[in-house]
């Protein structure tokens, strides 16, 4: 068993409450992602679990054991850092074996583990190289190999893909995910990239200002966001939030209980000529993305983005009608709006 349970942890620095009463559970052999904007406390939570940062209050449990005050090396975790934390003076092999050497593992075991790990991440040809002689992706693999070799079943990763270019990032995403499944690792992964979160996670924990905004599976967060923040953070481009009145549409009856803002994902909006039924809007701009086109629509103060697949015949300044299925409507409270949303 290797599950992580966080109970009411708080982290305060003078004048900052970086983590505010956060509780969650990471099930064994699952992939959990801590997602949130910059400065919301993701790294701080991860570092507290690793033992690199002390906890102001609350407790951390691994396998049912309270490890809040245990030494980092005895928590049974490994960690992949954002800049990989490779030792620049050691070659790949020595970097990978660093932990086993510290723990004075028998040479034979070192050799076997090294062999395994190196094959898994495809580094066999680079064992004698120094980190400076590796590409970003290869360095990333060394860091992963170090985790594999450590034999720990829990792995914490702090934005490990953020230094890679888009293509490599997608590749490493798959690689990390398959590694996790292959080894049955319990992974807690920090990112501010919602695509990463959606593609990799079994569970997403969405944070905002040191608190959990919403948690659940990627499907949960996408299909039923509990707040405007959650709605706009997940999905690209973000969900449109509009006042139904501005568009001159009558909303469903359940809009009566104080929820007066309408949320529509760009991909549910259909755009057409007078033959379809719905409010009229003007095309303010078009972003052609190849397989799809983003249509910017305006009407008075209201702005919408619709995502249309395939080619699109629309022109700027054209007046169109839009339509969406009633089942795709989300409703939010007016008072949830804060500046910047």
């Amino acid at each position: 068993m290797s599950e992580i349970v966080i109970k009411n942890i708080v982290k305060e620095w003078p004048g900052v409450r970086a983590v505010d009463n956060v509780s969650f559970k990471v099930e064994e052999s699952t992939f959990t992602i801590l997602l949130g904007p910059s400065g919301c406390g993701k790294s701080t939570i991860l570092r507290m679990i690793a033992g690199l940062e002390s906890v102001t209050s609350g407790s951390i449990h691994i396998n049912g054991e309270d490890i809040t005050k245990t030494d980092p090396s005895n928590r049974g975790i490994s960690m992949v850092f954002q800049s990989y934390a490779l030792f620049p003076h050691l070659n790949v092999k020595e970097n990978i074996l660093f932990g086993l050497k510290v723990r004075k593992a028998p040479r034979k075991l070192q050799r076997i583990r090294l062999q395994e790990a190196v094959e898994m991440v495809g580094l066999s040809e680079y064992l004698e190289r120094k980190p400076a002689q590796l590409s970003g992706g290869q360095r990333q693999r060394v860091a992963l190999a170090r985790t594999i070799v450590s034999g720990q079943s829990i792995c914490l990763m702090d934005e490990p893909l953020s230094n890679l270019d888009a293509k490599l990032r997608a590749e490493m995403r798959d690689e990390i995910k398959s590694l996790q499944q292959q080894l049955g690792l319990t992974v807690l992964f920090v990112t501010h990239d919602q695509t990463e979160a959606m593609t990799m996670a079994d569970q997403i924990i969405l944070l905002k200002d040191g608190r959990i905004e919403q948690s659940g599976t990627p499907y949960d967060l996408y299909s039923s966001p509990s707040s405007i923040f959650a709605a706009r953070f997940i999905g690209s481009p973000p969900m449109n939030i509009i006042s139904p009145g501005d568009l001159g549409v009558v909303t469903k009856s359940n809009a009566g209980n104080g929820k007066v803002l309408l949320g529509l994902r760009p991909e549910v909006i259909a755009v057409g000529d007078n033959t379809i039924k719905g409010p009229e809007m003007e095309v303010a701009g078009l972003d052609y993305l190849g397989s799809e086109t983003l249509v910017h629509l305006v009407r008075g103060e209201s702005r919408l983005i619709a995502k249309l697949s395939g080619e699109c015949e629309l022109k700027e300044n054209e007046t169109v009608k839009i339509h969406w299925p009633a089942s795709a409507e989300h409703y939010f409270n007016h008072n949830e709006i804060r500046p910047g949303q």
Binding site: A50, G51, L52, P72, S73, N74, I77, S78, M79, F81, Q82, S83, A85, F87, P88, H89, F98, G99, V102, R103, K130, A132, S150
Partner: protein
């Protein structure tokens, strides 16, 4: 040949020219001049200078003072360099940590460096003064009669070594501190997670990563140990009985007290050779095992 005189390379040479002229005028020309001086007799009055071959160098062999200053300088170098580098590293490690009053401690460690050597010598003269000096007064408090630190051939060189360490360590600390701050804190955290203790981390990670700095500092330290003689003017004038005399001070005395320019030039050539060979050994020998980023 055409490469040297191609249009491009002429530009290159022209760009180098100002630096080359300065280097030549103030470094290589005097070096060559020194060498010529060392093999010619000083012309004085009606006598013109004339070639006297290796005479000055033969004199080196039989000059007992030369032997003494060489040995003294070796002791001085061996006494100051490892200790001041070790101390510098220790101080840097201390002030690299976060604690209250860190800037104050940093400044305290660095202060001796900013003081001119002459001022330092004056301070230490007060420490070392027999009977009424700080050290002897302290010893007297415990009923011990302190020696005449600077007047006794047995203690004078050690006394000067201690002072030089005090002066140098803070300077070297700055280099270590700068190097430490370029090392990512993630390395320490990664090592910690793997179970590496402080000592292991220092031995296997920090120290190797500081090697380039150590090399740089040690070259500087060697040069300094031959170059720093200001304090001798204040404290001992090389005495008693040459017990604290160092090579450069001996050169100064030979040239400006005994007015033997030719012999002083020969001594200078020896000094240059010593320094050059140290630099070469350090660069070519250590360079290979040192990790450079």
């Amino acid at each position: 040949m055409h490469q040297i005189f191609s249009r491009q390379s002429i530009y290159g040479w022209l760009l180098l020219l100002p630096a080359a002229i300065l280097l030549f005028a103030f470094t290589y020309y005097p070096m060559a001049g020194t060498f010529f001086d060392s093999i010619f007799n000083e012309g004085s009055g009606s006598l013109s200078s004339r070639y006297n071959g290796p005479l000055n160098y033969q004199m080196l062999m039989i000059d007992p003072v030369f032997k003494t200053v060489l040995i003294n300088n070796a002791i001085f170098a061996l006494g100051t360099i490892p200790v001041s580098i070790g101390l510098a590293l220790m101080m840097a490690l201390i002030v690299d940590q976060h604690f209250l009053g860190r800037s104050l401690v940093r400044m305290a460690f660095f202060t001796p460096t900013v003081l001119p050597m002459i001022a330092v010598a004056n301070i230490w003269l007060f420490f070392y003064t027999p009977d009424i000096g700080l050290i002897d007064s302290l010893l007297a408090f415990f009923g011990i009669e302190g020696p005449n630190w600077l007047g006794d051939p047995d203690t004078v060189l050690s006394a000067i070594i201690v002072m030089a360490i005090w002066k140098e360590a803070g300077f070297f600390m700055i280099f270590y501190l700068a190097a430490l701050q370029t090392i990512s804190p993630e390395l320490k955290e990664a090592a910690k997670l793997e179970g590496a203790g402080k000592l292991y981390y220092f031995r296997r990670v920090l120290f190797p990563l500081l090697m380039p700095t150590t090399l740089f500092i040690s070259i500087n330290a060697v040069i300094n140990s031959f170059k720093l003689v200001d304090h001798l003017f204040i404290l001992t004038k090389g005495g008693p009985d040459n017990a604290s005399n160092l090579l450069l001070y001996h050169i100064y005395e030979t040239a400006f007290s005994y007015f033997d320019q030719g012999y002083a030039a020969a001594l200078t050539v020896v000094l240059l050779l010593i320094l050059a060979s140290f630099a070469i050994v350090q660069f070519f020998f250590f360079d290979r095992r040192i990790h450079y980023r």
